[in-house]
């Protein structure tokens, strides 16, 4: 049944000049599907990393402790103003090499290219999350913070129970926007041979010369992921909405 539908789709696409014959080749389809799977895995790992690190960075930036805030501020500015691809190259070719040497050879280095893609893209977007959250934390009215202080909350408890929950709500649109960018960023993994969907596609189109056909599907694929991410965002936004509290 599926085969029949596939045949009909290939015939239909062929009539408008698009050649999807490769979908009949088992190995290429498997390669492509694996690429999509890898992209999804990258996204699923990098999103929580970016959020956790973003919250930690925002906490450091608003801690009022220079020894904590200044290094994070420097990191945020550096990562926001340099290309992520260059960061990835630097991490993979320089940091990873130093690590390998310290661990006694590449064979002993547990850090794979996949790891570096998750780490670099996740921490890159974390810097953008941190800026959005910092803005939200600083926008919490001072008397509210004082009320929490007066109740006996420590600085960390105030962040955890009062300022961060409020900041998450005000920063949510910006965070969603950052996550859409994060999904798109994972494609740079192809530069260090991580077999995500772009990389898998390159492998296929160098054999078949069917760039346009693959492109259309890739763009739809990313459109679908980002649609899902923003749907989840809207769902979270509705769940977090506070009755009687206008944002």
């Amino acid at each position: 049944m599926i085969d029949e539908a596939l045949q009909r789709f290939i015939a239909l696409a062929g009539r408008v000049g698009l050649h999807y014959d490769f979908l009949l080749s088992g190995s290429e389809v498997r390669q492509w599907a694996a690429g999509m799977g890898t992209t999804l895995l990258l996204v699923v790992l990098a999103i929580p990393l970016s959020l956790a690190a973003g919250i930690a960075f925002a906490a450091a930036l608003t801690s009022g402790r220079p020894w904590l805030a200044l290094p994070v501020r420097a990191y945020v500015e550096l990562t926001r103003n340099t290309p992520t691809l260059v960061q990835l190259m630097f991490a993979f070719f320089a940091l990873n090499m130093l690590l390998s040497r310290a661990l006694g050879g590449a064979a002993h280095n547990p850090f794979t290219p996949f790891f570096w893609v998750v780490a670099v893209t996740g921490l890159h977007i974390a810097a953008f999350h941190a800026e959005a959250l910092r803005g939200g934390i600083e926008a919490v009215p001072a008397p509210l913070v004082e009320a929490a202080q007066a109740t006996g909350f420590s600085a960390f408890e105030i962040l955890r129970f009062v300022t961060l929950p409020l900041a998450l709500r005000t920063a949510l649109p910006a965070l969603m926007n950052n996550l859409v960018n994060l999904v798109k960023l994972t494609t740079i993994g192809s530069a260090i041979a991580v077999g995500e969907v772009t990389y898998a596609s390159i492998m296929i189109w160098t054999q078949r010369d069917n760039v346009l056909e693959l492109m259309i599907v890739i763009l739809l694929f990313f459109g679908l992921i980002n649609l899902t991410v923003s749907r989840i965002g809207h769902f979270v936004e509705r769940r977090l909405a506070i009755p009687g509290y206008g944002v």
Binding site: P143, A147, A150, R169, P243
Partner: protein, 264 residues
């Protein structure tokens, strides 16, 4: 109002407290004594440092010189945030602007501090919160959000939130000043009841009649000093200080004028 005259233990004591914000000297030597179970009102013209006194008592502001003792703790010598936090667990404060946490329900606002700071079991904290809400006559607003309540209701929740920590002392900082006139009564009624039940409290207020009615002592501040501290009857009607007579007279005159206009 305490009727017996046996001496009760001193809970709060301020001696010669000075505080400046930059060049402006806000407190110029405050002396104040509050016995356990007392209700003390601080009145006086705005800008005379009334609210700052409260902020010093719970460590939100640090005096430059002078001694502050709250329930055996020397507040003025507290150096670390941890020490101040320990103090604030025992001293509740209610603000003019309620300052409820907007993202938490009424119940969560009240139980947050007891469960997180005092580690009271959730069931116990919620039971206490419901009791307190009944006392402030908001038993039906347990799961409402602050944004859904009127100012008077929010302020009563704020009072319940302060009481949930079972504080030894509650500070009321102009708690009715931001309220519409028709909501002032409901908040004052709650405070009146608490004071009658023996809550030790210090109130900064502009409600002269109310202060006169509930206070054991009234302190009159002017220009960063407490120029008089006496039982209400003495301060209101037998004070020789012309400034006090003028200040209270102004309020009485205003009240009389309002009552006259409303035909009371």
């Amino acid at each position: 109002m305490a009727q017996d005259h046996t001496p009760r233990p001193i809970l709060v004591e301020l001696r010669d407290v000075h505080l400046s914000f930059g060049a402006a000297e806000v407190l110029k030597g405050i002396d104040l004594t509050v016995a356990k179970g007392d209700a003390v009102s601080i009145i006086g013209p705005s800008g005379s440092g009334k609210s700052t006194i409260l902020r010093c008592i719970n460590g939100l502001a640090q005096p430059h010189t002078g001694r502050i003792t709250v329930a055996g703790t020397r507040v003025d010598t507290l150096r670390t945030e941890a020490e101040r936090i320990a103090l604030r667990k025992r001293v509740g404060i209610v603000f003019q602007q309620y300052n409820l946490f907007p993202h938490l329900t009424v119940l969560e606002n009240i139980t947050l501090a007891p469960t997180r700071i005092l580690k009271v079991p959730r069931a116990e904290a919620e039971a206490l919160a419901r009791d307190l809400l009944a006392r402030v006559r908001l038993a039906d607003k347990v799961s409402a959000y602050p944004g859904e309540l009127s100012g008077g209701q929010q302020q009563r929740v704020a009072i319940a939130r302060a009481l949930a920590m079972r504080p030894e002392l509650v500070l009321f900082d102009e708690v009715t000043s931001a309220l519409d006139p028709e909501m002032v009564g409901e908040v004052l009624a709650v405070i009146r009841e608490l004071v009658r039940d023996g809550l030790t409290s210090i109130l900064v207020t502009h409600e002269m009649r109310f202060a006169e009615e509930i206070s054991d002592t009234i302190a009159f501040t002017e220009n960063g000093r407490i120029v008089a501290q006496a039982p209400p009857a003495e301060l209101f009607y037998r004070s020789g200080n012309p400034r006090i007579r003028q200040f209270i007279g102004g309020f009485q005159g205003y009240r009389d004028a309002v009552q006259h206009r409303e035909g009371i």
